[in-house]
Subunit: 338 residues, 2 copies
Amino acid sequence: MYKHKIAIVGATGAVGTVFLKMLEDRKYPSELLRIFASKRSLGKKIDYLDDHLFVEEIQEDSFFDSDFVFISATTSISESIAELAVKSGAIVIDDSSAFRLSEEVPLVIPEINSKDLTAHKGIVSIPNCSTTPLAMVLACLTQLSRPLRVITDTYQSVSGTGSAAVSELLNQSKSVAVGKEVLKDVYPHQIAFNLFPHIDDLQSNGYTKEEMKMVLETKKILHRPDLEISATCVRVPVIVSHSQSVHIEFENEVKVDDAIEKLDNFPGIKILDDLNNNIYPTPLDAAGKDDVFVGRVRADSYRSNILVLWVVTDNLRKGAALNALQISDSMIEMKLVV
Amino acid sequence: MYKHKIAIVGATGAVGTVFLKMLEDRKYPSELLRIFASKRSLGKKIDYLDDHLFVEEIQEDSFFDSDFVFISATTSISESIAELAVKSGAIVIDDSSAFRLSEEVPLVIPEINSKDLTAHKGIVSIPNCSTTPLAMVLACLTQLSRPLRVITDTYQSVSGTGSAAVSELLNQSKSVAVGKEVLKDVYPHQIAFNLFPHIDDLQSNGYTKEEMKMVLETKKILHRPDLEISATCVRVPVIVSHSQSVHIEFENEVKVDDAIEKLDNFPGIKILDDLNNNIYPTPLDAAGKDDVFVGRVRADSYRSNILVLWVVTDNLRKGAALNALQISDSMIEMKLVV
């Protein structure tokens, strides 16, 4: 059944690990896989189904037999490798911000804009892990009325930074619990029992790069350069799943019940909304699941064209690995790859 | 110097403990203090300066010699005790939501509306711990232009729930770290490495009581029934300090530099805003401090009459105990108490 050869760059990282797990769940044949990672992991043996995979070093000819090259490492690794992979005839599906805003690179969430894949020139980008759920909610609700303005404040887990940040959160939490000195390495501030409105560097307009990713990527995916979006991105002491509080101003009135119905019927979105029974999305419940979970859907108290919602998604799955895999599925289905 | 007799109800709770600490810092004479708490703490000896205080049980005549009765317990305790204290001739300064919206009860943040104290009839309420910093920022910026609409998404620490919730967070964090079963008691969901948009009960309009406290209390304090406020209140795994991302739409254009200048000069507000040097308010840094800290002040990218800011405050100090103490100071200064 499966025949495409896949190379995974960053296979031992937070997203790469989830990506491999998803391939295992599909029983994707190990013979079709090659895994690459940083020098630190070279030669490392990774259990995969009843087999093993060995971490390889990237070389000039690494990708000559690959159909897809998934990259989830650093932006500079994506920048230095993508062209090599494309020259080798592979399609690159890239998790970094390196190419997301390039005109010749489709930025795709298959539920929304798989059509954009037809214009690919070898590289396809997946959106930032906080962009994807926001764009899905907006795309869905556009069926009811055109969104004009969006405010989102995020609650982003440390796995968005990578595995080292997960260790840092857990180690710091242990240190605080037993009264030991708290060591910092990944973040400039203690993250255990703390949080900060600082993800990625500051831009000249006062917003961080992460905040501007949400703004610019969402506009591109939705083909809505006119959409006004304002984001505040906050790192919180959570291991997996990004949450966000979203306020959407529409062109016309939107009723809560209509929004809930549309959201619950949109592919990849699931409603969890019954606060009286303590039901609403939480990061812990969303972790390891595929859906974008939405709850606390309510109307603004003053204006009938504004809705408020609470959105939670596993940042490693739909926020990254799952979306990447769905892109390759779509490209195969659309016969964009032989 | 000090002569007023103070009774503290809920003296062993999260806020009560901070309140006593603040009196200790002032070297307030122990002879002028009486402390009350739940039956569980009856007779408990609390170290205070070079002396001790003993936890008493509330009785009919407990407050006959008190000038001020500070209550920080549950709403139902406030409801059952306040009248008794007023009848005894004391002034009640209440931390619960029991009386905050009553017309005959001033709801006061001294930096904003100490004038309202003159109309008191024995009870003065202090605002919810998330309301106070928001109202201070809005009162300050009103000097530049009239706020018309406010959106706030909060990141509220567990000490807002009380000491039992602090223990629950710490115990759960330890359990996760060592792989033990996580026990839940205070919250319906695990709070360690998790968060949820659920503080207090659901109202019929889809907002929680906590969210509506922020809305209704802010309007009352600012005497602005027309102000549009929308809040999403989220509990996060932080021990002390509440954070919030605030979006303010003004009547006219407001420049970032002017806002920063006004905020930094407002009593009780301090600006921390230099992201390139990792400077912005965090809950850990704000804990134990008196100020409302503001950072990430920036303009909306599309509209010159909208500002976005990040606000962090120790919920036990300015959010509760400090504000209560400032109210009694103001009443003494205004000669509203003999």
